[in-house]
């Protein structure tokens, strides 16, 4: 057995580093930041290959685009992050219970359809509660849609990944059929516009961020993520869900009704995705469901958000803001001659890098240890005495 010297982290092996007692939250956050950095580097490399002369400007635009036009851009960042946060919470919540909810797209579109339907048809509702009813309907519809894979998983052992993917396509086609029978605008081949009274209120946010699409949705998203945090970490239900997520069989042995918990977690996840659908289609920007057989992209973006936020509600909140931020930057990329798809490339590579957690966690541990030593040296006002260690800083571990 080799002696483990915390002061020389670059000389430790992977398994030794992972076994060290370093704050897990710190390591996770730092490794997420490292994967974001690597994703941006990869995007930069692609831009350099394709069009070297404007690549640096492009990168600068991605990083600063959220502030390009001042308050208006930042308001739009908030607007675009709203559904991302909610969809990310949906995936993350299911992930806590050990389920991989890829069905965001279906749940979002079903929730969005119900929101539009209530918004357009139930005009007898007073305008103060109209949008609230529409949002609740969206959440319920999403929950209903996610309950099918949940029940199939719990009672028929159907793999939830395949079941939710199938439900995506069923939801998409079903919504297309339903739209044609109810809220169809045949001129534009999409849904009719939701009247202004049923859309999300602005709550004075439009005064702060003038000219942007920001609405109450972002505040709902923040409140919901706090509620989800409380459910996961402060309630019995959340504790049981996490137990099932860690080890389904152990939870069952400990007396947890694991089947019921699987269904519950899918219901809540579906409701969150449905709410995301509501915020998309009731937003002041006025989006419509088009009659095309294509899945809603926010469903898959939600997976990215949840993975980057490590399924922790507050992590998801920040990851949602981050993706909303660089997506807003992406809209300005045209001026550099790049397609906005470069943002999706960067997001996908961030997810890939965060899957390579092993490397990044060890690197993060090393960095934390090095910085810890550095800080200690500063505060103790000692002279750094590891002169023989200096040259090792850029040495690879094995």
């Amino acid at each position: 057995m080799r002696k483990i010297d915390k002061d020389k982290p670059l000389k430790l092996t992977t398994s030794e580093l992972l076994a060290l007692d370093v704050s897990k939250a710190k390591v996770s956050i730092l490794s997420s930041l490292l994967s974001i950095f690597m994703g941006l580097v990869l995007g930069m490399i692609i831009m350099l290959i394709v069009k070297p002369e404007s690549s640096f400007g492009g990168l600068a635009t991605i990083l600063t685009g959220g502030f390009q036009d001042g308050a208006q851009s930042f308001g739009n960042v908030l607007h675009y992050s709203t559904p991302l946060i909610l969809a990310g919470l949906s995936v993350g919540f299911a992930f806590k219970a050990g389920l991989f909810n890829i069905g965001g797209a279906g749940q979002i579109v079903v929730g969005g359809f119900v929101a539009i339907y209530i918004g357009v048809k139930w005009t007898w509702l007073p305008s103060e509660i109209h949008w609230i009813v529409a949002m609740l309907g969206a959440g319920l519809a999403g929950a209903l849609w996610a309950s099918v894979p949940g029940l199939l998983k719990a009672y028929r052992n159907v793999h939830e990944v395949v079941a939710t993917i199938m439900m995506n396509y069923i939801g998409m086609y079903l919504v297309l059929i339903l739209i044609k029978g109810s809220v169809y605008n045949s001129d534009k081949n999409e849904t009719v516009s939701v009247p202004r009274a049923a859309r999300l209120p602005r709550w004075g946010l439009d005064k702060i961020f003038e000219g942007s699409y920001v609405s109450a949705g972002i505040i709902i998203a923040i409140i919901v993520s706090i509620i989800i945090y409380i459910i996961i970490f402060k309630t019995t239900l959340g504790y049981q869900l996490r137990m099932v997520g860690h080890n389904r069989h152990a939870a069952k042995y400990a007396g947890v009704n694991e089947k019921r918990n699987i269904v519950y977690s899918m219901l809540i996840a579906g409701a969150l995705a449905g709410l995301a659908g509501g915020t998309i289609y009731l937003s002041p920007a006025g989006r419509h469901i088009e009659i095309v057989s294509q899945l809603v992209s926010e469903g898959f973006d939600g997976i990215a958000v949840a993975l980057l936020g490590m399924s922790h509600p507050l992590g998801v909140l920040f990851a949602g803001f981050f993706f909303g931020y660089i997506k807003t930057g992406g809209f300005y990329m045209q001026s550099w001659g790049f397609d906005e798809e470069i943002i999706n490339i960067i997001i996908a590579s961030i997810i890939y890098f965060s899957a390579l957690a092993l490397i990044f966690r060890t690197k993060a541990t090393q960095i934390i240890l090095l910085f810890g030593k550095w800080f200690r040296n500063i505060f103790k006002k000692e002279k750094p005495k590891d002169k023989e260690n200096r040259g090792d800083l850029d040495e690879e571990d094995n």
Binding site: L176, F300, A357, L358
Partner: protein
């Protein structure tokens, strides 16, 4: 080389032997199946109408790519690596393969040669793309579903980005001279001639060859045995001297190769524009694989069923019984997905997934 041929020859012989002994032993069941097959054949022969052949033909157009991709997934999952990235691998293969086709067409090359070349290049690109998944899930012990999702997100973004950059739009248009109208006397064989030898693509035969070869590789070769062992109990395989990492790499790369081929074949047989998506066929292939219980024989049957359900909405006006119902066409589009859920709901209880699929292999863990 000689050794390999000898081995193949021996294994074919063994297969035939086993087949004959099986026929002798399982008399009742086989007899029943044979009689049913003959009856179906005769009834189809009697019910000889163009609608039927149209249906079988378009069914084959979507079944063959589904089957090829599902077989690809089989190699990966039976080696113990869950491959949800089939969609992305298909898309990458299809994009590069069709880009080559887009460039070469109209420059005086033989149509079928271009087709074969783009299939091959599509396969290679899929295999290269699969290495990313292999690296993450084998070396880095990553969560295989996360890595697969990342690759699924990456492929369309890159395809759209590059297509828009090189051609201005995200669509790649190509012409379709690849359909073979007739194949001489083969087309005159009753029933089979009309199903398999008229209006076909070369890819149909490639698909059939891939099916036979993968069944033989999986069940009749040393590599196949090792592959299956790594998917069931990698520790035992390792103890027996098998290099689990190498075998799993091979499994994932083969799956990428087949997925890339499937992508090109799908696009060519079903449309003449490539719009940077493969319309969820990768996910469907995954469902085919699971409903087919990770076995080549059942995968074929499920793929044929799914291909039929996928294409029924195109043919609905030709079938008076269904046309009279006057349902919206999207109802038929939903059918394959609903069918998948039903099939899975009834088969998943006694699902025989490779036991170690999804678990990274750690040599230090016992």
């Amino acid at each position: 080389m000689k050794k390999i041929i000898n081995n193949l020859f021996k294994s074919c012989k063994a297969l035939l032997n086993k087949l004959f002994t099986k026929i002798k032993t399982a008399k009742k069941k086989t007899l029943l199946i044979t009689i049913i097959a003959i009856l179906i054949f005769i009834s189809v022969w009697l019910w000889d109408n163009p609608t039927f052949y149209f249906l079988t033909r378009i069914t084959l157009y979507s079944s063959i790519p589904l089957m090829v991709v599902a077989l690809g997934g089989m190699f990966s999952e039976r080696s113990g690596v869950v491959n949800i990235a089939l969609e992305g691998m298909m898309l990458m293969g299809a994009f590069v393969g069709l880009f080559i086709m887009y460039i070469l067409q109209g420059k005086g090359y033989n149509g079928q040669h271009i087709f074969l070349l783009s299939i091959f290049i599509g396969g290679i690109v899929g295999a290269v793309y699969a290495i990313l998944h292999a690296y993450a899930s084998i070396n880095m012990k990553a969560n295989q579903i996360i890595s697969g999702t990342a690759l699924n997100l990456f492929a369309p973004a890159l395809a759209i980005f590059l297509a828009r950059f090189f051609t201005g739009t995200q669509q790649l248009n190509f012409s379709d001279p690849f359909r073979i109208k007739r194949m001489g006397f083969l087309s005159d064989i009753p029933v089979i001639g009309k199903i398999l030898f008229t209006n076909v693509y070369l890819s149909t035969y490639i698909g059939i060859v891939i099916l036979l070869v993968s069944a033989i590789i999986l069940y009749r070769t040393r590599f196949g045995l090792r592959l299956r062992a790594c998917g069931e109990h990698p520790q035992a395989a390792d103890a027996a001297g098998v290099n689990v990492y190498k075998i799993r790499y091979a499994g994932v790369i083969i799956s990428g190769f087949l997925a890339g081929i499937g992508g090109v074949v799908l696009i060519v047989a079903t449309t003449t524009t490539f719009n940077a998506n493969v319309s969820g066929y990768g996910f469907l292939a995954l469902a085919v694989l699971i409903s087919g219980q990770w076995r080549p024989g059942r995968v074929v049957i499920v793929a044929l069923l799914f291909g039929f359900l996928l294409k029924i909405s195109d043919a609905v006006t030709l079938i008076p019984l269904l046309d009279n119902l006057r349902l919206p066409s999207n109802v038929y589009s939903m059918l394959p997905y609903i069918a998948t859920l039903f099939v899975l709901a009834f088969t998943s209880k006694k699902s025989q997934a490779p036991r170690a699929a999804g678990e990274p292999y750690d040599a230090g863990k016992r």
